[in-house]
Point group: C2
Chain length 540, copies 2
């Protein structure tokens, strides 16, 4: 052994926070009008006590401990108490369909569940179907155990209160041991599980510290809007503890107003969420302006951000980083930062860069391949995006669908994209939604984005329908805004598209619908649309 | 296997540079008036060709390949060609005494040696004593092989020229495999070897990218003044390749004038070196000012920087980071960055922070212990500094002195220091040089620094001499500036010290010397002084 074999463990993160940043703050909104503020020193102490309490409930190395929790300090305590004990934190996505929740809890074999008091109605409904759960721990400020139908229920605060002060985390954890797990909803079938290791979370957290990237620092004040039950809140809670950054956790049921109030009050410097959030926040800020002079960047992912949204924030001096990732990738693997080559780009060109999914991080490799092999960096040639690296999953947990997605050492993301001339990733579609028409690949997402900028359109999905000559042709499925429901024509929509896209890309027909079917997490269920509309024979 | 077991390898760094930053520049000064400028794409291609060439000379996995080279592009090619082939790069410190050079080459069992043509006279003298060397590769712009007495000598450029274009690095290297090695001179006896692994170098390189730290980025232009034969040029060449940063390598025999010219011409943003370098650069800049508006920071280590030096650079808007480390620690483990707590510090207080060795990096742990255990963070209580982490050596290479330094999983640095109230490390002495007087620890370094600010003093060493009552007492050994040689008194020096230090700290006597004996790398040889002056009986 030449160099020390010090393992990469989350335990080192919380030790560092307590030792060097014990006086720094965590601010947590636990319910409407309730803000809890405490220090990293108190946080570390409570986290160890939580670990001790969970061990009395049967937690041991490898035990799966699930959370049904919003973004608050108790969830953050579980984020470290469980993996630093050698157990596995299963962050359940509370937005899954009930049958999927039952599946994931049973499939993961969760033995202890932490649940917010505000989410008890949800969990009480499904709990009778859980096969392996031995205890429920109810998170809240004022928990009344007599009010729940859950068996073996405990109060989080009472458990922590009663736990010994001198509990220590074990020191013999392997860096490749499981630390956390999330399930990702599948287009068909049950959700698929991804297991993170200490090593993968540590390395992903370091990437959040890279100056070429988010560049997270100790002096940042970080508010993750993205839920801690969704892809680890993009890894921010872990990275913040390592650096001693101030954390502001917005709790349940927040609004754009609340987010902006928190931004202003706590001088938030970094936040992260999906485009819908930022659209709401921008609208609120325009009508009721807060002081955002400390806010240095927003991290955005999940779906494409409209150019106007990005530009409006950037014009306020707030960097709007688009990232790329998924549950299988921890999640961040790229970010739309600027390199030195872009220093003489115009503002418009820079904004164009910000709409891409960005430059691949160090330690991670990406490829985009189609039937001709690796695509050129031309911004046009589409292919499927492949990813490899130390924070990329190698498999789905106990799932035979692993073989479809993990091949030759690469994760096949199922996303279709291009490399821009700068080598930045730009997502153009999902593999399953791509339209292959006469040898040409047509991006359903680009057509949808164009349709959704039309003033009469509420939402739009573009799908492939079978075609005799061209194999597939695009069909536009459009939901009109209520006020235009009887005043919208196929022609005006197709004319708009004809101005922006090559002739072959323009759909041959438009179908007006009352709504687009969606998955439990709000994504378009195009498979269902395709199934229903496959009989829509194209005219050309 | 939950997550991909992608190893942390230097191979990924050079792949990333070539793929994403192939057009970025490396600027290399190979000799007086010769500047070679080329791209990362060309660099990667030449590096693979060098690897192929070295393999024809017998390099295979585990082979030790030594370099006797200044900071230039050929050395940078070897930095990756050797480890990315699974072999081990031994960077020989050309400033070692000849007998030590012979020892390290034989002890490492180097089989191939790369040597600068300008260093041939040195190597030719010692080469007859090398036991394992099979080939010499001479680095230069215009090498004439007939002019060297070295056996089996090859021209670097001819080898690279003749090598195949299609050579590929192997893909089956273990992240814990040896990648590089350096020897560190010992106070007594032969130098001690440290072997770096791919994993340790990769993780250390990532630390150079942390925003809380040097924050190295792609858009940086980095000029390492610290030699590439000394602790990996503090890891900068590795980190730069990973990020695609522009590198400016200053070559042999540089001067403050040359460094400043390069800073201005190439708009250098980051540089690194020892205080002596920055003293010379500052003096030159004051008399002949260059445009340093792009220079954002200097990294300094090796010995303490005078406060005035730091302040002068900071007043120019250049951050002056003091770091801490040694060959055994890759080297950087801490840096004098500012945390949010210091945001309301006065300029003077901030400069005080910059004189410390700074905050310990993530993933690394430091302790300072004395006979009472861990010292409090009071800025006063001294103890020995201990370090642990994934880029800290676990042993000396095939050396029984390992047991003296590596104990209970910690590296005992032999440095004496304190933790400031902010938890920053401040070095106060070497274990061997510390003066233990009547139960009190007296820092020889602080006394020396004070003496060296005296206008009549050229240099000063303070050593312990035996004392009947107090066990040890400090003795000052002073070399006067030539112009004051006959006009300097013990009394004026001791009076100066009495103003700054507690009475017990003030030496009882001053000995005037013509010079302070030094090691081959310029450090005071206090052991020799102690030996010669131990008969100097103290009066009190």
């Amino acid at each position: 052994m030449h160099m020390m074999d010090t393992p990469l463990l989350l335990n080192g993160f919380i030790q560092r926070a307590e030792r060097h940043f014990g006086h720094k703050k965590i601010i947590s909104r636990t319910a409407e009008n309730i803000i809890h503020e405490f220090t990293y020193k108190e946080y570390a102490q409570r986290t160890r006590k939580l670990a001790a309490a969970l061990e009395t409930l049967g937690m041991t190395k490898g035990t799966k401990v699930a959370t049904f929790c919003w973004n608050h300090h108790r969830h953050l305590e579980a984020y470290f108490a469980v993996p630093c004990s050698g157990a596995v934190l299963h962050m359940v996505n509370i937005r899954l369909f009930p049958e999927h929740i039952i599946y994931v809890v049973n499939h993961a074999e969760d033995e202890i569940i932490l649940v917010d008091d505000s989410l008890l109605p949800l969990v009480e409904t499904v709990a009778p179907h859980f096969n392996t759960v031995k205890a429920y721990v109810i998170c809240g400020d004022d928990v009344d155990l007599s009010k729940t139908t859950l068996p073996n229920a405990y109060s989080y605060e009472e458990l922590v209160e009663a736990a010994p002060d001198d509990h220590q985390f074990p020191e013999d954890i392997d860096e490749n041991a499981a630390a956390g797990m999330c399930y990702t909803s599948a287009t068909t079938g049950m959700p698929k599980g991804v297991v993170y290791t200490h090593r993968s979370i540590v390395l992903h957290s370091l990437a959040m510290s890279f100056a070429d990237g988010v560049g997270l620092r100790e002096n940042d004040v970080v508010l993750p809007v993205v839920p801690m039950f969704h892809a680890n809140a993009w890894g921010l809670p872990f990275a913040c503890v390592n650096l001693g950054s101030t954390q502001v956790l917005p709790g349940p049921m927040f609004t754009p107003q609340l987010i902006l109030d928190l931004f202003e009050q706590y001088k938030v410097t970094v936040s992260a969420g999906v485009p819908t959030i930022w659209l709401g926040v921008l609208q609120e800020q325009k009508s009721n302006s807060r002081d955002l002079s400390e806010l240095r960047c927003l991290i955005c992912g999940g779906s494409a951000s409209p150019l106007g949204l990005i530009r409006d924030f950037e014009e306020m001096g707030i960097a709007y980083y688009t990232g790329y990732g998924m549950t299988e990738t921890s999640p961040l693997i790229s970010l739309s930062i600027f390199t030195s080559d872009m220093s003489d780009y115009s503002f418009a060109e820079k904004m164009e860069v910000r709409t891409t999914q960005g430059l691949t991080f160090p330690l991670v490799e990406t490829r985009i391949i189609n039937e001709n092999g690796d695509v050129p960096w031309d911004g046009k040639t589409m292919g499927e995006i492949l990813v490899r690296g130390p924070w990329i999953a190698a498999e789905y947990y106990k799932d035979e669908r692993t073989a479809e997605t993990f091949k030759d050492g690469w994760l096949y993301t199922g996303d279709i994209g291009v490399f821009t001339k700068d080598g930045y990733i730009r997502i153009t579609d999902r593999t399953k939604d791509l339209i292959k028409s006469g040898g040409e690949w047509i991006s359903s997402i680009e057509l949808e984005n164009a349709l959704m900028t039309h003033e009469k359109v509420f939402e739009a999905a573009v799908i492939a329908v079978p075609h005799e000559k061209w194999m597939e042709r695009p069909l536009a499925c459009v939901v009109a805004k209520p006020e235009f429901k009887n005043n919208i024509s196929k022609e005006e929509l197709l004319e708009r598209l004809a101005k922006e896209f090559p002739k072959k890309w323009v759909p041959d027909d438009v179908v007006f619908l009352d709504e687009i079917p969606k998955t439990s997490v709000g994504k378009f269920l195009k498979a269902k649309l395709r199934d229903e509309l496959k009989g829509n024979v194209q005219k050309i």
